[in-house]
């Protein structure tokens, strides 16, 4: 029983940290532009594919040693995807910045569709095997099985999240980004380079998403052009659950979501005496999301706003 508990906790932490990396991208973009970036899941997918491409070039053509090649591929891929993110913002979202709120959201849907089908055409629609970034060693801890891969993912995710935390709260760039997300007009009046800050967000968000994608692909051993869709939706759910726009909220939401999913799988059949099986796990997830939002309409750590303190004009 204890073994099972430890096992499930580790499982939840691993999934949760991948969700968190992606949820952060949603929440940062939302914080600055009040926009849901539906193409964010595709950054996750791109991360895996770009890393795979670089890796096969490094190992195949250059003949670089495994561990170094992996590190190089990881770093180069996340930076490349970050740049792609900035480029997409310039082309597809920037022209819509003063438009309705729905317009950039739908533009991002178009970007998402194009990236997925583009990748299907380029790399084929089939899932492709992805090499492991960490050697798989199993450790038995009090009856539970933990793999070195899970540990590696946890460490990598936490390093990245602390890096982001530092960037947002301690660095100059972070202050600028926070100022812009607080109030874009005011930041503009203060002479802040708003475009620069937005580009920064569209660099860091996809970068983290791509990192999540690489970790995910190497954890599960496969990648596919559509891999971003489901996990993107889950990360988005996590961001909303935690209170979209809030960075700690995104992380909290991601781990809560992961624990609900794992807990649902493990406990639903037990609690309901087999009436509801694990197939109802997503129902449970969404039901909990709805309940949380009923109590806290702006998510767990979202800014609670009273009616008059915020001028809500039309959403779109």
């Amino acid at each position: 029983m204890l073994g099972n508990l430890i096992q499930q906790t580790v499982n939840a932490l691993t999934i949760g940290s991948i969700y968190a990396l992606i949820a952060l991208g949603y929440t940062m973009v939302y914080g600055v532009l009040r926009m849901i970036n539906f193409a964010h899941g595709e950054m996750f997918m791109l991360g895996a594919y770009v890393a795979f491409l670089i890796l096969s070039m490094l190992v195949g053509d250059v003949g670089m040693a495994g561990a170094i090649a992996l590190t190089v591929a990881f770093v180069v891929a996340v930076f490349l995807v970050g740049l792609i993110g900035v480029g997409i913002e310039r082309v597809a979202y920037k022209p819509l910045r003063n438009s309705t709120r729905l317009a950039p959201m739908l533009s991002s849907l178009g970007v998402s569709l194009s990236l997925v089908t583009g990748m299907q055409i380029l790399a084929g629609p089939q899932p492709v095997a992805f090499p492991s970034f960490f050697p798989v060693v199993r450790y038995e801890v009090l009856g539970g099985t933990i793999t070195s891969m899970q540990i590696g993912i946890l460490v990598a995710a936490f390093v990245l999240m602390f890096g982001l935390h530092f960037l947002v709260n301690r660095s100059r760039i972070g202050i600028i980004v926070r100022a812009v997300s607080e109030s874009r007009p005011t930041a503009q009046l203060l002479g802040i380079n708003v475009n620069g800050a937005i580009s920064m967000v569209f660099f860091v968000g996809p970068l983290l998403g791509a990192a999540g994608g690489i970790l995910y692909a190497s954890y599960y051993g496969i990648m596919s052009p559509t891999m971003g869709a489901v996990i993107g939706l889950k990360a988005f759910t996590a961001a909303i659950l935690g209170g979209i726009g809030s960075i700690p909220g995104a992380m909290l939401g991601a781990f809560i979501l992961a624990f609900v999913e794992v807990g649902g799988t493990a406990l639903l059949p037990v609690i309901t005496h087999g009436v509801l099986g694990t197939e109802y796990r997503d129902v449970l997830t969404f039901a909990i999301l709805i309940l949380v939002l009923l109590v806290r309409p702006a998510g767990i750590l979202g800014e609670a706003v009273s009616e008059e303190s915020i001028v809500y004009k039309r959403e779109f």
Binding site: N4, Q7, Q8, N11, A12, T14, I15, T117, Q120, G124, P125, Q126, P127, V128, A129, S132, V136, R138, G144, T145, T147, M149, Y220, G221, I222, S224, T226, M227, V230, E261, V262, T265, A266, P269, G277, T278, E279, R281, D282
Partner: protein, 370 residues
């Protein structure tokens, strides 16, 4: 818009014009885009390979064969549009249709309404039980597909207990229910049935539930890439039960994506004989690779076999109308690459070959056939 009008006019002219007597068209419908595109494309390629050869030899009794290949996206709505397109085209006298039983469910009534005979590929047993007069299924249904593995598990592996996992999709759920029934009928015990979501990639939580139950075999009714993911995670979590999977796993991707050490001993049941089973199949594999630049897909050989059935139909048919073709199709008896085939009155194969493979190293080793 201009293109649309052009297509419109073209469609109208086809509709009105007289059909050419010496060429028939076969409608091909399967997923050609999206995650299942690989199966649809490679299946059709096998057929095209045979038909091209047939045409190169001057056709059958002077009749040449053209094909109209359409994407149904594995979506019932798209499937019905394609079905209607074939129905409207008088030159189409036979359909090689729908890889997915779910799509076939919605298209078969349309084909029935316009008297277009089909060779349906969907393997759900219920398709032939609805009284359709114009369909045959040139491939073993899931009843046969799940019998062999159950017998093997009970007999050769000496398994007493099985745990069944399905992905809550038509195919996965259907075939795993049939496996469970066969396993129980043979004296085994199914200790639990678990459903997972079709989009799941992480089975760690499910596996942690399975582990203490210690089943002898686990039957996983799902498709790729879930099969590979499950096998990999199962091994990583230290579960030693024998994994049995249905036909979707008969692809080198299973071994590649799961990682070679993680799938050793996994059993795969499929209606396809090994590529070196006979000189004819080996020859086909070579031809396929030469023509399409890649290895034949899991169902390519069935496309080829359907070409062989078509040839026999054309040899025996009285005329080239849909009705004539249908009569000939139901009466066909032909030696094909997978053995001699004929259909019963519901359109089901009288003898449906099925095979069981075991993963050894990076190869699928035949361990049983029926």
């Amino acid at each position: 818009m201009r293109k649309f009008i052009a297509t419109l006019l073209l469609g109208a002219s086809l509709f009105a014009g007289p059909a050419m007597a010496e060429q028939i068209t076969i409608g091909l419908s399967a997923p050609l885009s999206g995650p299942q595109a690989y199966f649809g494309t490679t299946w059709h390629n096998g057929f095209k390979l045979y038909v091209d050869k047939l045409n190169a030899d001057g056709g059958v009794n002077g009749v040449t064969v053209a094909y109209d290949q359409q994407d149904d996206k594995a979506d019932p709505r798209e499937g019905t549009l394609v079905a209607q397109k074939f129905c409207d085209n008088d030159k189409v006298v036979l359909g090689l249709v729908n890889f997915n039983s779910g799509v076939a469910q919605s298209t078969l009534p349309i084909y029935e309404d316009c008297s277009l005979p089909t060779m349906t590929f969907g393997s759900n047993p219920s398709l032939t039980k609805q009284g359709y007069k114009l369909m045959v299924r040139p491939v073993a249904n899931d009843l046969a597909g799940a019998l062999l593995p159950a017998e093997y598990a009970l007999g050769k592996l000496g398994a007493k207990t099985a745990l069944v996992v399905n992905d809550k999709q038509v195919f996965g759920q259907g075939i795993s229910e049939i496996f469970a029934k066969n396993f129980q009928d043979g004296g085994g015990k199914v200790i639990d049935t678990i459903s997972v979501a079709p989009s799941d990639v992480d089975f760690a939580a499910v596996l942690a539930q399975i582990k203490p139950k210690k089943p002898d075999v686990i039957y996983l009714g799902a498709v790729m890439p879930q099969l590979a993911l499950f096998a990999k995670q199962m091994h990583e979590q230290g579960i030693t039960a024998t994994l049995i999977v249905p036909d979707g796993g008969y692809t080198p991707d299973l071994i590649k994506q799961a990682g070679e050490p993680n799938v050793q001993g996994t059993l795969v049941a499929i209606q396809v004989p090994p590529m070196d089973a006979s000189p004819e199949i080996a020859e086909f594999a070579k031809l396929y690779k030469a023509k399409y630049g890649e290895d034949a897909g899991p169902y390519s050989i069935y496309g080829y076999v359907q070409g062989q059935i078509l040839e026999q139909v054309l040899k025996t048919t009285k005329g080239l109308t849909r009705e004539d073709i249908n009569t000939a199709l139901h009466a066909v008896k032909v030696k094909t690459a997978v053995g001699e085939l004929e259909f019963d009155e519901t359109g089901e194969l009288k003898v449906a070959p099925s095979y069981l493979y075991k993963v050894e190293g990076s190869k699928f080793q035949l361990v049983g056939s029926k």
